[in-house]
Amino acid sequence: MTISRRRDNGCLVKIVVTVKQVPDPNATTVLEADNTVARDREVVLDPGDECGIEEGLQLKEAHGGEVILVSMGPERARDAIRKGLSMGADRGVLITDEQLAGADVLLTARALAAAIKPEQPDLVICATESYDGSTGMVPPMLAELLGLPQLTIAKKVEVDGTTIKVHRQTADGYQVVEASTPALITVTAGIAEPRYASLKGIMAARSKEIKLVGLGDLGIERGEPGETIEGVADAEARKAGAIIEDDGKAVDRIMQVLAQAKVV
């Protein structure tokens, strides 16, 4: 990487990766009576974010610099940051505040932007969407609030000097999208196979800094939430039909169904 500028702290590149602690996608989950997700369930670092961290670490290894993890959540979300630090990230920032419980996407994006802005990163890496919320709206909002161009759904990233180029996944292939840094990118799960933390990495992570900040520190006040949940109902369920064991005649039954549906 061409060195375009040298920072006061000696780092060449600053990469911020946003991370989120989510309910374990592999665990069976239950809803409380009030339709909130049970709080004591297993939580993990979002698997999509692991790919973002991996991409950040690979860019750091190729071009030098620092990888900073920024998260928002309850204090236990420190565990998710710690996992990323044990993979090799340098330090973490956790925005944690009781006022943030149930934050909507705009408040989430505003808080993240306020925490990221002072870092003046060259690159912000987000997962395309979280495993639990799947709204996918925080990254474009964050890009707007930070005044950065957004290169989204990247399945490949190349950095050359101050130029960043990504392969942006589309329905029938991909687009090559180019911008100058600083920029924000969102990455797909396929971008990089996340590394396992080594024992050395886990030990090293213990002494790495995780800075806790509240809304007051960021100069943000919680406004009116963007939406009100008026009710939660069971989604329309389909009724189960026949379940048969394949005794060699299953194909005949399938053919009957296909004939009824007029596709054969």
Partner: protein
């Protein structure tokens, strides 16, 4: 009447089908003005008129074709300065998501993403949003004006009403400051014979297929039936097949006449994208798999044996 905007997504000079799906709903909710940006916008305006748009705001600046999100957000923000709608509808697609997020942040408004429906209610709107992986449906009321709602593709059926829209030039200057994330090349990878979203029959494979080497079995069946092949997120994440084949919350939504789920357990993430199919057939080793509880016909058995036998039977019947 409420004032409703539809962001009519354009791609490669073509109006996207999601725009017409949104039109079908929007015209129930109020007076509809559509916004079409980029090459082909003027031609798209007449189609949007036939689908119920009273006004279509157009601008054919190449910047809308070539740069991600920022020019479109600029145009919508400029239009918003002139008149404020009660509701802006976007499709929950990659391109529209990029635009909607930037616009909402710029206007300082919240938004509701991934909705399956939206209705007028009590002087405002209520969106239905899959919750808890799709097992539940939450009713969410946007508190902002304009309300901004992103609706999943295939949530509504497009239909013509026959009408003519007034076409208005959307006056906006796209500065260099918004020409940043440039699309320099478009590469088509998949030469889909039948588009997954439009296929009358979809055959999808999951982990139960055993590996990517077995996916040609599904392709052979799809070819015999004139259908398309889809996949679960698990196998896309594992790199067996490209993302363009992914069906589910984070992939494509389909509602074919027949959906055949092969070796797919039926996680909510997947079923939210296919449960509107008319007929569902599941083939799975596990009789207890969630997909069996929603299938019209569940077959417990070895997919690698059943699928080739089925392909042969279909070919024999079709002669």
């Amino acid at each position: 009447m409420a004032k409703v905007w539809v962001y009519a997504e354009m791609n490669g000079g073509k109006l996207q089908s999601t725009a017409l799906e949104l039109m079908a709903k929007a015209r129930e909710l109020g007076d509809v003005e559509a916004v079409a940006l980029g090459s082909g916008a003027k031609a798209a305006a007449s189609t949007l008129g036939k689908h119920g748009a009273k006004v279509v705001h157009v601008n054919e600046d190449k910047a809308f074709d070539d740069f991600i999100a920022e020019p479109a957000a600029d145009a919508l923000a400029a239009l918003h300065e002139q008149s404020q709608p009660d509701l802006i509808l976007f499709a929950f697609t990659s391109d529209s998501r990029d635009v909607a997020g930037r616009l909402a942040a710029r206007l300082g408004k919240g938004l509701i993403s991934n909705a399956g429906d939206v209705d007028a209610n009590d002087g405002g709107f209520v969106a239905k949003v899959p919750y808890f992986g799709g097992a539940k449906m939450a009713s969410m009321r946007p508190n902002s004006k304009p309300a901004i709602v992103l609706v999943r593709p295939k949530s509504f059926e497009a239909s013509e009403t026959g009408g003519t829209a007034e076409v208005k030039e959307l006056v906006v200057t796209i500065g260099d400051g918004s020409k940043r994330a440039r699309i320099v090349e478009r590469v088509a990878e998949a030469s889909e014979k039948v588009k997954l979203e439009d296929a009358k029959v979809v055959i999808s494979g999951g982990r139960g297929m055993g590996g990517p080497d077995n996916f040609p079995l599904l392709e052979a069946l799809a070819n015999a039936l004139g259908g398309a092949v889809g996949a679960s997120r698990a196998v896309v994440d594992a790199g067996w097949v490209p993302y363009s084949m992914q069906v589910g919350q984070t992939g494509k939504s389909v509602r074919p006449g027949v959906y055949i789920a092969v070796g797919i357990s039926g996680a909510m993430q997947h079923t939210v994208g296919m449960k509107a199919s008319k007929v569902i057939i599941a083939i799975n080793k596990d009789a207890e798999a969630p997909i069996m509880k929603m299938a019209d016909l569940g077959v417990v058995g070895d997919a690698l044996k059943i699928v080739p036998a089925l392909t042969a039977a279909v070919k024999a019947k079709k002669g």
